[in-house]
């Protein structure tokens, strides 16, 4: 009986979450957090790409912020300096980023640690090019100002309130597309590459081509997110896509669960809330605390916090966290008391147990 009610709750959960997210920007609800909400949406888009590339295909990228940066810079330069339509600028930025990813695709021949280092290098190179700015395009460390808002017809996304919905519209579309890709022949091929490259090849899956395609897809996602950020912030600079931001993105993907599309929202939200609301008061300890959280998650729940919570709920119901803490506490209590030792001594001596 209780189980059936819980099941109904679960069905209710999705509309409740949607309603919650739709109501966030209203002043009578969580209006002061609409900026944060928008940023979470943007980070979610990049994280989903990373989940596809890392979680499903089993590759590593420590340079995803580079593609975010390329999209951001191209959108900014084209729409402000050259006065292009922001949508067109966004499209061109996405194409350029995809092309860059395609050309960089040669690094996908590398595996594991070597791929991680190569992508890390990509992150540094793109960031450095933007900072040095020899050709006077990206405005160097100061960046670019005067970027126009996005608009559809007469509807201009000039307020935080409108942009929240714009970003989440994009985000939901990308989440759905990614979900569809995962649940298809393509998704199976990607997971096969993760599972065993040898076997995938023997089944007629062109391993390198699939790695390359998903790398380009994830780069385009990052680029779209970067463009949205440019037209949201109206000011961009290399400070927004430093190499360390790639690490933040990986942390988001890991917290959400690398092989979980919808977990990306959870991961992005956790990290952005920590960064913008809590850790901002302890500036120096920012990365230390996030690093510790990452370590704890990787050790205790390698499939990600979101997935671990989901599984715990499925196994033990709503109150699984207090239940587990209670069990853990009992365990420690008995150890402190030496309870086990005595019990073992008793059983060795052949005495009846209590």
């Amino acid at each position: 009986m209780a189980r059936r009610i819980l099941k109904r709750w679960r069905l209710l959960l999705i509309p409740v979450v949607i309603a919650f997210m739709a109501l966030v920007p209203f002043d009578w609800f969580l209006g002061q957090y609409k900026y944060l909400g928008t940023v979470i949406g943007i980070s979610t888009i990049v994280t989903v790409g990373l989940c596809l590339f890392m979680g499903y295909t089993g590759q590593v990228s420590l340079g995803q912020a580079a593609f975010y940066g390329i999209g951001m810079s191209f959108s900014a330069v084209l729409s402000s300096v050259h006065g292009l339509n922001p949508w067109l600028a966004m499209l061109i930025a996405a194409c350029v980023t995809g092309l860059v990813a395609l050309l960089l695709g040669i690094i996908l021949r590398l595996k594991g640690n070597y791929l991680a280092m190569a992508t890390l290098a990509v992150g540094f190179i793109v960031w450095k090019i933007a900072v040095i700015d020899d050709m006077g395009y990206t405005g160097g460390p100061d960046g670019i100002r005067g970027i126009p808002y996005l608009s559809i017809g007469s509807l201009e996304f000039d307020s935080q309130f409108k942009r929240y919905y714009l970003v989440w519209g994009f985000c939901l579309a990308i989440l759905l597309i990614s979900q569809n890709i995962v649940n298809s022949r393509i998704g199976r091929a990607l997971r096969a590459v993760h599972g065993s490259e040898e076997a995938a090849e023997s089944l007629g899956i062109n391993v390198f081509r699939f790695k390359l395609k998903i790398f380009v897809v994830s780069a385009v996602y990052a680029s779209i997110a970067g463009s949205l950020f440019a037209h949201h912030q109206l000011h961009v600079s290399p400070g927004y896509f430093e190499p360390i931001d790639s690490v933040y993105l990986v942390i988001m993907a890991v917290i959400g669960g690398l092989a979980s599309i919808w977990g990306a929202i959870f991961g992005a939200a956790t990290v952005e809330i920590l960064r913008n609301e809590i850790l901002i008061h302890y500036d120096k300890w920012n990365m230390v605390i996030l690093g510790l959280i990452l370590m704890v998650i990787l050790i205790l729940m390698p499939e990600g916090l979101f997935v671990a919570l989901k599984k715990g709920y499925q196994q033990e119901g709503v109150f699984f966290i207090p239940k587990r803490i209670w069990r853990l506490a009992q365990n420690y209590y008995s150890r402190i008391k030496g309870f086990r030792k005595r019990k073992m001594a008793q059983s060795l001596a052949g005495e009846p147990e209590q």
């Binding site: 597309i177 298809s184 022949r185 393509i186 096969a192 076997a199 089944l203 007629g204 899956i205």
Partner: protein, 258 residues
């Protein structure tokens, strides 16, 4: 005159100074079960890898249905009908049994990123067919009840069957089985030889590398013996068993001991 599906002429593969496959001439007849046996290090798995395209041929010819395939990528070879299983199963542990077999249908379907992303009708049409075919092959190897089981949770015997189902799902003409019987108990081996016979009835040519002599003797219509990369004998199981060279290869040179 019988049909030859796979033919090699002076096929050679060297790793630096080590010649793993040395001037091997083979003729594999269409629709038959051929076994390749030989002591450890005889070059059996290397030969498989050459046929499947994992390794490139150093010299010699490799013809499939009369056409040279030695420059073809492994992906294309799957397309023209060569499938294989591995000694170390190599299942996709991150998928269910059904999904593993469905992945086998990859080369027999064509919808891509766009169709998947935007749920175009072609996706549903092909996906339906993929699922039905995958179920057919799962039932054929007798894993119909384990559809939703994670591949990793199956016992080794069933994992091996699943790997065969996955290879069958590529709809091959030639199936290479690399030690399918290794690690199986007697009952599982009996099921396996039944399955291989049924595969033969589907007009799929089977080549198997195997150490288990009773299994080979019961199944193979032709046995090829390799030793240190060279072919030393060929014929029916009974002929091969009496061959002096074969006995010498397995037991060491007897004349030396006398």
């Amino acid at each position: 005159m019988t049909d030859i599906i796979l033919e090699t002429r002076k096929l050679t593969r060297a790793f630096g100074g080590l010649v793993a496959v040395d001037n091997v001439d083979l003729e594999i007849e269409t629709g038959k079960i051929t076994a390749i046996i030989g002591p450890n290090g005889a070059g059996k798995t290397t030969l498989f890898n050459l046929v499947a395209g994992v390794y490139r041929v150093t010299s010699g010819e490799l013809n499939f249905q009369g056409k040279s395939i030695d420059k073809m990528s492994p992906v294309k070879r799957t397309g023209i009908g060569i499938a294989r299983t591995f000694q170390h199963v190599h299942l996709f542990s991150n998928m269910t049994a059904l999904e593993n077999v469905m992945t086998g249908q990859h080369s027999r379907s064509s919808y891509g990123f766009l169709e998947s992303a935007f749920l175009l009708p072609k996706k549903f049409r092909e996906e339906e067919r993929i699922r039905l075919n995958a179920m057919k092959y799962l039932n054929m190897v007798g894993l119909g009840q384990h559809v939703q089981e994670s591949a990793l949770n199956l016992p080794l015997g069933q994992q091996k069957l699943l790997a065969i189902a996955r290879a069958l799902a590529t709809e091959p003409k030639l199936l290479l089985l690399d030690e399918p019987g290794a690690g199986l108990n007697r009952l599982e081996k009996r099921d396996l030889s039944d399955l291989i016979r049924r595969i033969r009835e589907m007009e799929i040519t089977v080549i198997l590398v195997e150490h288990d002599m009773p299994l080979v003797m019961g199944l193979a219509e032709k046995v090829i013996v390799l030793d240190t990369g060279k072919k030393i004998a060929e014929g029916t199981a009974a002929q091969v068993q009496k061959d002096k060279k074969v006995i010498a290869a397995y037991l060491g040179d007897e004349e030396e001991n006398l």
